[in-house]
Assembly symmetry: C2
Homo-oligomer: 216 residues x 2
């Protein structure tokens, strides 16, 4: 799943000239850097512009708003996460062993870890930003679809017992991942220690799908 329709639409009025491409990259880099220090809401367009060595109006030549920058950043991260997933581990009906699930969860957690500032910012922005919400929803839908397939395949084979409709189980497990990982990396509320994250999640996935933490 490569998510071609996700390509950011509100990027800017740029056409094809080379020189100013650097500026665009500079803005993105500045945003990712500053996001590691403060939340997006505490960043002004001016901070982003100055950080990239341009004036505020020039910023608007490249991006329609702060949020558009975040969307572009998120788009990259999502593409990377998707590649990590698709790149081997977990395609189609292949998969379903403990190690397949572990690899998928590890890919998820690692991508989050590698880009926590972007991921955390995206999570904060999502409620107020339709585009971020839709992009994320699309990504989740992809993951849910894939998990649903594997669960159904395991049931057809008799490896997993019947239970909740596969899609519903996939949805709750995915939601759990999202919230638990967010909680661990944002550090508020009761959280799972970062180094045990994958194991804990894996245990719950396996138990609910196969009714035992150590499936065939």
């Amino acid at each position: 799943m490569s998510l071609p329709p996700a390509r950011v639409a509100a990027r800017g009025r740029r056409a094809a000239r080379p020189s100013g491409d650097d500026r665009e990259l500079a803005i993105l880099a500045t945003a990712e850097r500053l996001l590691a220090e403060k939340p997006l809401s505490a960043l002004s367009v001016d901070d982003l512009a100055r950080g990239a060595g341009i004036s505020r109006p020039t910023f608007y030549f490249y991006f329609a708003s702060k949020d558009a920058v975040l969307l572009t950043l998120l788009d990259r991260v999502v593409a990377e996460a998707d590649a990590a997933f698709t790149g081997g581990v977990f395609d189609g009906l292949q998969g379903g062993t403990r190690e397949n699930w572990r690899a998928a969860l590890t890919a998820y957690v690692d991508t989050f870890r590698a880009h926590r500032s972007v991921a955390l910012a995206a999570a904060s922005a999502r409620p107020d930003n339709r585009e971020v919400r839709e992009l994320w929803a699309r990504v989740c839908e992809g993951w849910v679809l894939r998990a649903t397939e594997v669960i159904e395949a395991a049931r057809a084979q008799g490896t997993a017992p019947d239970g909740l409709p596969a899609r519903q189980l996939a949805i709750v497990l995915n939601s759990m991942n999202e919230r638990v990982v967010y909680g661990t990396f944002s550090g508020d509320g009761p959280a799972i220690p970062e180094d045990q994250l994958v194991d804990v999640l894996l245990d719950v996935w396996l138990t609910t799908i196969y009714r035992t933490p150590h499936p065939a």
Copy 2:
């Protein structure tokens, strides 16, 4: 658990005079009403003030900011949720039957349903608002503690098998609840139909705790 320390501190400089109490209530009511239409970020202090029939500066006599209003609203909802929980169902080591768990989950979902606008607004505000974050973290910690106790009791009795540390299991299940319920009520992304919410969550709780969806 009654959370006495949660009492909102940033409420206003009011002392004890009667007449102006109505204004405070009017602001809160206006906020809850408007929140059903737009997110908090789209509401100005002026909207709140006009809605309550006062001027903007007067608003500041009662609340330090928009966010303080939300915090007060959330504080009420949380107190209610806590009462629903504590009010019978699920005290101390009592509990652990299917119906106990179901009642607890129903209380959770129903409180959310009854105040969705406040709950959704609080969820959006949490990343940027320390006080909301802390209040919510405190509440979650309470739920996690209680669930942990019940799980440990069941294990001690031999009703539930060993597995993940009880606290970690309680954390992930709680996180799952939060995210799934939020997803269902906010309507973005893949979601569980509202009328099946409790059943689906219950199934996962029981399966992970007792390793079967139909415990003793």
